[in-house]
Amino acid sequence: MVETSWPKAEARRLLGTRVSRLDGPAKVTGTAKYTYDVARPGMLHARLVHCPHAHARITKLDVSAAQASPGVKAVRVIQGVGAEIQWAHDEIVLVAAATGEEAEDAARAVVVEYEVLAHHVDDLHLDQAPETRAEEEELAGEPEKAMAEAAVRSKGTYGLPVIAHNCLEPHGQVCEWNAAKDTLTAHCSTQAVAALAPQFAERVGLPAGNVHVICQYMGGGFGSKFSADRWGIECAEISRQAGGVPVKLMLDRRAELTIAGDRPSAYAEIEVGAQADGTLTAWISKSWGSGGLGGSGRPPLPYVFQIPHRRSVHHSIPTHTASSRAWRAPNHPQGCYLSMSALDDLAARLGMDPLAFVRKNEALLGPLAKTYLEELEIADRLMGWSARWKPRGGGKGPVVRGLGLSLHMWGGSGHRSSCEVTLQPDGSVEAKIATQDIGTGTRTVLAIVIAETLGLPLEEVRVQIGDSRYPASGGSGGSTTVGGVSAAARRAAVNALRMVFDKAAPALGTTPDLLEAVDGSIRVQGEPGRALTWRQAAALFGRAPVTATGGNPAPSGSGELELTGSGAGGVQMAEVDVDRETGVVKIRKMVAVQDCGLVVDLKTAESQVYGALIMGISSALAEEKVLDPVTGTLLNADFESYKMAGIGDIGELVVHLMTGPGYDERGVIGLGEPPVISPAAAIGNAVANALGVRVPLLPFTPQRVLDALESPGRGIV
């Protein structure tokens, strides 16, 4: 009998090894075609006209000159006279022309007049917000009383500004309307191939089955590419309007940075209290932030530590900026940075090494406590923390060094997913699943699971993804993909193998339960001589292919154990150098120790953590959307002034994944979010350790560092 559950450690051949991503060569040689690369015969190019004001009403709109402009095939008014525009760079008109340049010229010929209305883009000053939404308060125990009784208290303000997703490939699509068949084909840069088809269908009025969404390769989403988006729907409509010609619309960098994704800001006043021995007792916080008109999400406060007496209130400030989108581990980086900063300040007050402080509060770490403690031990060794940690401040000369740490958690259970495995008479194996590889290695993970299950070499399995016509699978968000697709692929492959065993058993003169699939053959367990090659076994089915399917979660009532788990914990440590005369922060080293259950591909898993560290470092040192208070527009809408860390800025990165007993049996857990949560918090604590002064507001630019040194305790404003 073939077991559905994951093979035991000693039986694994590919699972958990270091496999290079299968599409790596295609990506580095340029044969991989991204949406940006899609070129269809007769394709038109579309350009958007954006609103220059943060808040305005359209008073006049004239597209006649654009319509008459050379090469123009169609013009669509997205928002017309009378419409109230709520953020700068909102889309007003779409123009499609034979070339991009012609579309651009035509877009410039569109005349729009506005009545400019008052705007509010300041999210930092809660007292100046014209409107706030007080969210429900969270309360446990008696925080005020506990705070009053605490032996040591620490109070501070901390904050993180709005940052962008900055996908290297901007949002966009090529839409092709077929008027004769009433179908729509959309090549989209998306992290939700399956879900996008019904989204398009509903908005353009087609049966869902008539929409075909394709995304073979995509250049980053980070949570910002789940929606068909208004510009996507408009692209489809303009293709229809132009008579069913394919139309390409990709956002330019300014639009990408301005309207295609924000991570909400979060600022907080926090007071924490502990007993003299460091045991945490009380937490009181007031936080606020914004992520556009809809306000912000609520950061989890306090984060990780379940402090017995706690009160937290969050206010969400609507601003005239495009709505926020999920950004890798929504709300967690905010909750983590705010909490870990406040707790580190308290540890400093207590005169405690933060590592000892965390251990002291083991009881508050929840179900992942054991994981954290094991991880801290490894991180301690990899960083040399215990040997080198010193209390805050001190040091000679302008450049001082510091260490900081942070803890984080995430769910990461697999999403709903189904997969189809087809065995051809010639023995070739093909898997189909409507998932997408957003850069995480999904293709590779699928091939590993199926090849492992069928006893085949990796190259023998062909994986087809990125097409809404394949069996449905969830969007790639919340670290749910790897659990979902690997569970579905495992079940589909197991079901296929059961069919093969059923056929092969009589041919080998045995029963299916005595067979095994090893090294490309089907053989009787323990008798390598009694075997069929994979091809011979496949041929037993005759001339037609056979298909097996499998899904996640486990079929209800099957009694099968789930193949994916939830609840990943991680710890990170940072070592920085800070020049206290110039305020320049340099990362020397980052250590990330992460749990993600059963690792499918150690290499792509590690690379996921490296990428997250880099993204986190970037947010810690450089990233911030700068809005002009007077005009309400984004001042740094390009890669020059919206700064991101480069290769020279990231220091030495050390990654360790927890594997083996205690971890593997939890099943596959996603890894996209967790490692990006802690970097800024760990770096902030390292900066405070180096300087002896808290730099409360991200990013740690020379400006922020010097301002904090000049007036310590001034807080975030």
Binding site: G397, D628, V630, L635, E640, S641, L706
Partner: protein, 333 residues
């Protein structure tokens, strides 16, 4: 980008004529690393581009000549990568070669030219967002009211608040470099320092370049025993702009400063010569205390805007460290 005419003349005079024929509506194209970006963003909209890349024979502007007596003559089209790689330049003026080799990134340095670097436009994010070089709205400066974290702390009485972008210019000015300009009226040679001016009204440029005038050559004398040092405060390792720079050149006599040049970059709308620091240093021997005092004097007149106080400190540190680097004291610390 808007449509434009493109001319690729073979002689310098033709280039000047092509420019002068449409004053204010034509632009010189060198490496294009700045100009094309400005055009794509619609910040500048020249109707004609006159490329200098097609100049032939004696007219070409990509050269670097050195004589021991007169020093360097460097053509305007010489790339920053050429400067960084030049053996003679590295021997005679190492800080120039190093500065050229450190700015932007390799791809930019391979196309960016000396002339383009000296004539590049400010990176002020208001200017680059299309609000104009002076970024005024209804008579008030958006910079003053808005986010001025990267803006000027010196020479900022208005209406200009942007900072001069070139990191090469302050170093070259400290070394008393001159530039040759060719225009419809012929050729003139001016100190590089004089190329920069404060625009007083929108539409004026921050360079003293007449209609049709092009920068053809940079002239840089021999090192002549000067002690030279620079310091750049930059956050990221590559592809980032300095937050403040300082360049100092000291002519010494008997261990004392006979003549000092102290020039700051990225702190004022033009490369900023600190007369206060220069005259203080004259006659002094350089030690840490003197470096401290000179640095303090260099920023004495600073008037920070609402968000750039920190730049005063950066400018001060840059001057101090440049002085210590010039005198080799940094190695002893």
């Amino acid at each position: 980008m808007r449509p434009f005419d493109y001319a690729r003349p073979a002689t310098r005079e033709q280039a000047v004529q092509l420019l002068a024929a449409t004053p204010g509506r034509a632009a010189v194209l060198a490496g294009g690393s700045d100009l094309l970006a400005l055009m794509k963003d619609g910040v500048v909209t020249p109707e004609r581009l006159v490329s200098l890349q097609g100049l032939q024979g004696d007219h070409t502007l990509r050269f670097l000549r050195y004589t021991a007596a007169a020093g360097f003559r460097i053509g305007a089209l010489t790339t920053l990568a050429d400067l960084a790689a030049s053996e003679v330049l590295r021997l005679e003026h190492p800080v120039v070669a190093e500065t050229a080799g450190r700015l932007a990134g390799p791809q930019i340095r391979n196309v960016a030219t000396v002339g383009g670097n000296l004539c590049q436009r400010p990176r002020c994010w208001y200017f680059r967002s299309g609000f104009g070089l002076l970024a005024a709205r209804e008579g008030a400066s958006l910079v003053v009211a808005g986010d001025n974290r990267h803006h000027a702390i010196l020479g900022n009485d208005g209406p200009a608040y942007f900072v001069t972008p070139s990191t090469l210019a302050p170093v070259l000015i400290a070394l008393d470099a001159e530039v040759v300009l060719l225009g419809p009226q012929g050729e003139r040679t001016i100190p590089l320092e004089k190329l920069y001016r404060l625009p007083l009204a929108e539409g004026e440029r921050e360079h003293d370049l007449g209609p049709g005038e092009i920068l053809t050559e940079l002239q840089l004398g021999p090192a002549a025993g000067r002690q030279v040092g620079t310091w750049e405060v930059r956050q990221r390792e590559t592809l980032d702009w300095s937050l403040a720079t300082a360049a100092v050149a000291l002519e010494m006599e008997d261990g004392r400063v006979k003549r000092a040049r102290v020039v700051l970059g990225q702190v004022a709308p033009l490369p900023w010569t600190s007369r206060e620091a220069e005259s203080f240093l004259t006659g002094k021997t350089i030690d840490e205390a003197a470096a401290d005092e000179a640095a303090k004097l260099a920023v004495q007149g600073a008037k920070p805007l609402s968000k750039n106080r920190y730049k005063v400190q950066l400018a001060r540190v840059a001057v101090r460290r440049a002085l210590l680097a010039a005198t080799g004291l940094d190695r002893e610390l």
